[in-house]
Symmetry: C2
Subunit: 377 residues, 2 copies
């Protein structure tokens, strides 16, 4: 087993980059999009079909898995890869974000967070050390440092206090992580939308020698423009030789613009969540398949897409499945949407490799997703 490492094939600390992350369970080509498998399943997908879309790594949620079925149980059953039949690399988050967004009666202290499970009301305590231990039990190839996701909007002094706590927790996380060949831990840059706080956060992380860096606290309501501005003052200061992961992002053009700013990895629930809600992503825009105008449409959702939803079915059929509340609708559209995001990152990798990313970026803006659901005909 070679050690966990990143090969930067092309690019620098700024601008689009092409790379490879080497992990215990395989290689991830970057820029990479990671489908989210919250509760040990990428919703409505057989894992082999997730791999068939081109996904090389998926994300698991520490918060959900620690509550149900329990990290110790998954460990006894051979780890998360075996439990959910995903032999490739897995990244787990630290649980910090979900504690803030899902759990009840949260109480944050220097030690960690006490909260009640949203499933059964059970009282739980999560610390940097416990989060890292859980992620080790899950057998995550990439462990995330435990942090506090600073809410948005947020006054600067609050953002500073929150970031400082996350940096102390990052140190404890790094110390709790047991270095093993093929396994890595990423630190998370915080600091909300404030450039100097982002710099300060990076300075705090650098001595801890993480295997990669995540950019946290974005895609929480600040909007695309402010998100990209924050990337502009963050990615140039991250070490060139380590992968960068923008957490919880995003839509088509968010990815394109973030890659333009030196981001290597992404995760988002949007392909599968939209897939369950009849919203399909295409290269020309998003499509709401519940709309009656699809009822008689014999065309595929997207002509040149290779996914089964587009190869074997009409828009009329997909519309029918959603109207009839049939599971196959969610199954097919989740597949299509995952394919869309994998095709997008593959196209970006090709464009970077062939030195034509600027043209690709321009074309994406001219023709791709603008959130204008009904403009698509």
């Amino acid at each position: 087993m070679s050690s966990f490492h990143f090969e930067l094939l092309k690019g620098t600390a700024q601008g689009p980059r092409l790379g490879r992350v080497h992990t215990a369970h395989g290689v991830i080509e970057t820029p990479a999009f990671m489908p989210v498998g919250t509760a040990a399943t990428v919703k409505a997908m057989h894992p082999g079909d997730v791999a068939a879309t081109g996904a090389q790594i998926i994300l698991g949620n520490t918060y959900h898995l620690m509550l149900r079925p329990g990290a110790d149980r998954i460990a006894r059953l051979g780890g998360l890869h075996r439990f959910m039949n995903w032999p490739g690399p897995i990244l787990t988050d630290s649980g910090g974000f979900q504690v803030m967004s899902l759990a009840q009666l949260r109480k944050i202290t220097e030690d960690g967070v006490t909260f009640q499970s949203h499933i059964d009301g059970q009282k739980e305590h999560l610390t940097p050390e416990r989060s890292i231990d859980i992620q080790r039990q899950l057998d995550a190839d990439i462990t995330m440092a435990f942090d506090e996701c600073t809410p948005f909007p947020c006054e600067k002094d609050e953002a500073a206090t929150s970031m400082a706590l996350s940096m102390r927790w990052a140190k404890r996380s790094r110390e709790a992580f047991q270095d093993r060949p093929g396994y890595g831990i990423f630190g998370i840059v915080q600091g909300s939308v404030f450039a100097d706080l982002r710099r300060e956060s990076i300075e705090a992380l650098l001595p801890l020698d993480f295997h990669g860096h995540a950019i946290g606290g974005l895609a929480v309501g600040e909007g695309q423009e402010m998100m990209l501005k924050t990337l502009d003052v963050t990615t140039p200061f991250l070490p060139e030789a380590k992968p960068r992961y923008l957490m919880g992002v995003g839509k088509t053009l968010d990815l394109v613009e973030s890659v333009a700013r030196g981001v290597d990895m992404f995760d988002c629930v949007i392909p599968t969540r939209s897939g369950r809600n009849a919203q399909g992503f295409t290269k020309r825009g998003t499509v709401n398949l519940m709309n009656q105008r699809h009822a008689d449409d014999p065309r595929p959702l997207e002509e040149d897409c290779t996914c089964p939803a587009c190869r074997h079915y009409s828009r009329a059929y997909l519309h029918h499945l959603f109207k009839a509340k049939e599971m196959l609708g969610a199954m097919l559209l989740s597949w299509h949407n995952l394919q869309h995001f994998q095709d997008l990152t593959a196209a970006m990798r090709a464009a970077i490799a062939e030195d034509r990313f600027p043209a690709f970026r321009e074309q994406a803006w001219a023709s791709w997703e603008r959130g204008d659901i009904e403009a698509y005909a």
Copy 2:
């Protein structure tokens, strides 16, 4: 295109039979189990995966499809095979049974049935002629005659009146059916549990020269013993050279005992419905995967099963998926259950071919499903 026909490879009018039904969209080996694709989808299954279980024919429901998305729409979109991406044979029921069980404000006259759609309250009228026309629009390989499914229990004079109406509708159905190469229509024997009414029904159907015969009005609450007694006084009188289809049946031992009595074809929602409700069929009995005792069980649901649920996952994982209400639970267990019923009919075909059906039947009773969910360890 050869004509619709049945090859009886082994057997007579009574006892287990081995055969092949030749249709416009392919050959069905009998005894055959037909998964139900009510609303143009076998619930929670990709159609390619349904075929992978060994299924050679599926069933579509006229009642559901006429209401949504509409038979004329499916016809415009190229027929049901193309609409739902199932290139193999399809049998459609006549809509009669669902009108009785699902629709509101039903009114039966000599002409047909008037009812309100359970979906939008729209008033609809279904006659033998309209049912046959809809099934032609759907492009069903096997069309079913329009009948009234006699309720159970039922006084003999009511059963006689209902059967007589169904026989008049059978004649109108046969006349409305347009003979086309590769397409067939089955008549349906009614008469409740009364031997002489069943004989009378068969006598009424014989001159109409149907391509096959269904046995209707069973599996409606009469119990296995009475169902089998009714088969005993029905199948021997059906023409040997035509396929027999027992509608809506059933569980493992129902199939074994019906094959022993000369039935060739079955359909039932039980594999997929149970699959959505955490009930798994195995050769040793049924298993409720919601039960807490599976939470730490690393074993597959069934050791020697070839389906993905058994090859790639533990009972603990399946239990987790159902507890977490994850769609993949229904997807995997529906697949397993469909595999169970296809393996069962394949095993019966092999046993008949090798002249060891009596031993197979004995073994089935000794070891298979008895509805005792929690006895299985």
